[in-house]
Symmetry: C2
């Protein structure tokens, strides 16, 4: 009906049968050719591709997935704190989200992303619904109900890999916290500081904090120094935790000449409190954080930190999940497959001269 109406196109769909007719082959041959089945002859493949292009054909993925059972999709769930504004999410989490999606894409998978917080919007049945082949969980350790929900799901067979889980039952990838903390502490000592304290926790759900403290304590012991832990208070924002820990040190008359804070957001709070109290960083107190978030570079003075290889982290999460999906569970993951390498970002906040 070549009337002049300007109604939308795509009111009817081009199917593989149309392409078959256009190319003069059967529908099953079209399917094989477009799927790259090597059994199809080169000349036929060409003919099919050209017909498909002429008709502007695209495979209906719902039909393909229904039939094949594969989704070529990974669900990525970002676990947030219930009260948390999306714009205030830890930038670390966002960076990880970006690299996870990139790694999935590089391996031919699309990513279905959701941000979940309260119990009412927890939903992880992506496999049952045939929406995804597996699940990558990232986000705050502090939302315990969410992690409990996902632990149960994981234990009942849902394929998943986590970053930040407080539970060891779930498959995980983490930064090489121990090595990173050693690196940070050694860096402080090498820079000439002689009494670095650690602001952190050995009891936090956040296992990584303990791992980081342990790395710090180990290097201190090797250097014949006594480790000093300033414990953060639970239930506060990271920045506020850093501020209060700094305040505590100030009240004690600064019994240290440097601080290793177990994450950048804590370090930024510490920095602010020290600066506002007129204490020079790094002149009086050297300071190094952990995570390498962008804001650490913008601080004044720029904050030294330990940064995980974000691209590697995304790739390792995806590869671990794909291994699980493909049933390669014979070989237990080695430490190297679970621990993301870290590097030192040496900036002004640890330059003893100033």
């Amino acid at each position: 009906m070549a009337d002049g109406t300007t109604t939308k196109p795509r009111t009817f769909r081009v199917t593989s049968f149309d392409v078959a007719a256009e190319a003069g082959v059967s529908q099953s041959t079209v399917s094989r050719a477009l799927a790259g089945d090597p059994v199809v002859s080169e000349v036929t493949r060409q003919r099919v591709f050209e017909a498909a292009r002429r008709l502007n054909y695209a495979v209906d993925e719902n039909a393909a997935r229904l039939r094949s059972g594969r989704t070529a999709t990974l669900a990525v769930v970002v676990i947030c704190r219930p009260d948390e504004d999306r714009k205030d999410l830890n930038p670390f989490t966002y960076a990880l989200l970006g690299t996870v999606c990139a790694a999935a894409s590089a391996r031919g998978y699309e990513t279905l992303v959701s941000f979940q917080d309260g119990p009412e919007n927890l939903s992880g049945r992506y496999e049952d619904r045939r929406r995804a082949d597996g699940l990558i969980l990232i986000g705050t350790t502090q939302n315990l109900p969410a992690w409990t929900y996902y632990r149960d799901l994981g234990l009942s067979g849902t394929r998943m890999v986590c970053w930040g889980s407080p539970f060891d039952e779930l498959d995980w990838i983490r930064s090489d916290n121990h090595a990173g903390a050693r690196l940070a502490t050694r860096h402080l000592l090498d820079a000439g500081f002689t009494a670095p304290a650690c602001i952190g926790s050995v009891t936090s759900l956040q296992h990584q904090f303990k791992e980081r403290y342990d790395g710090y304590a180990e290097v201190m012991a090797e250097a014949g120094l006594t480790p000093r832990l300033v414990a953060i208070e639970e239930g506060l924002s990271r920045e506020e935790q850093g501020r209060r820990a700094a305040r505590q040190l100030i009240d004690q008359g600064l019994p240290c000449d440097a601080v290793f804070a177990v994450c950048d957001e804590i370090a930024l709070g510490t920095l602010r409190e020290l600066t506002e109290a007129g204490i020079d960083v790094p002149g009086r107190i050297g300071l190094i954080g952990f995570d390498g978030i962008r804001a650490s570079a913008h601080a004044m003075p720029p904050l030294s930190s330990i940064q995980p290889d974000f691209a590697a982290a995304g790739a390792m999460l995806v590869d671990k999940l794909l291994a699980t999906i493909n049933g390669d569970e014979s070989a237990e993951a080695t430490a190297a497959e679970r621990r993301v390498p870290v590097r030192l970002l040496a900036r002004q906040s640890t330059r003893k001269g100033g």
Copy 2:
């Protein structure tokens, strides 16, 4: 076969036929009941829900979508610079991604997220492939090939809404840049600054920069002051643009007592250059940015800024797209529907007393 093997469950699928048998109704009734069709009687619905729960049934979405033609999914494409590291993406973009996903979820849509940069990974045929009902584009204005690709797609009928497009042909949502720039400039004048310059551009592809300059110039004119534009150089990082503009002002002997930078990342570069040159902010130069990214709060001194309502931005993008999908194009979008409200974040960098 109740043998003791520990092979995975879910080797066979529970279908709506199984639920039907369990509930003692027909398969079509199961489908209606679970879909919430009001025609089903309450007692039947209950029976079906319980049977479904007993069997741990979940609808196969591929089958449902194939049949119904609806996907209840929105594709969200983040356009990056080709050379750009995922962890260094503008935090503004990540925040927007978060609120877009949240808004979609609140309206019953899932989000298929991808990060696209080079020409080889541009792919926007989500509708043709029946993967999504429409497309939300966010990201850097600077990747022209990507925007060109999507403009062509949009002009040929793909439903989409953009944030950051250099092209006006595509449907867009933007910050209320004009109002925000007025707010920033008025704030500087109210704080006692008498000669604010603007670091920005009136020729950038980034329309918002011109809009922001115009708002600044308007308030200056109203106050009987002469606007002064320090133009940024193209092809540099935002931070470096800010640094060079600051350097230019310094070389001219600081012919201003305040700066309105058209985005926070430029402002942070400006701040750094001024600080390193020993120029006190805000003592000698007041400074305000635009965007309200997190790093602006962490700067020293904390940077004043203009922040769009991120939650509103996400909601407006999603609502505009859903209106397009549902064919509500009769009423052209009003300014209020396209312009995201902004607010002033007054911080230390504009406190003239210091």
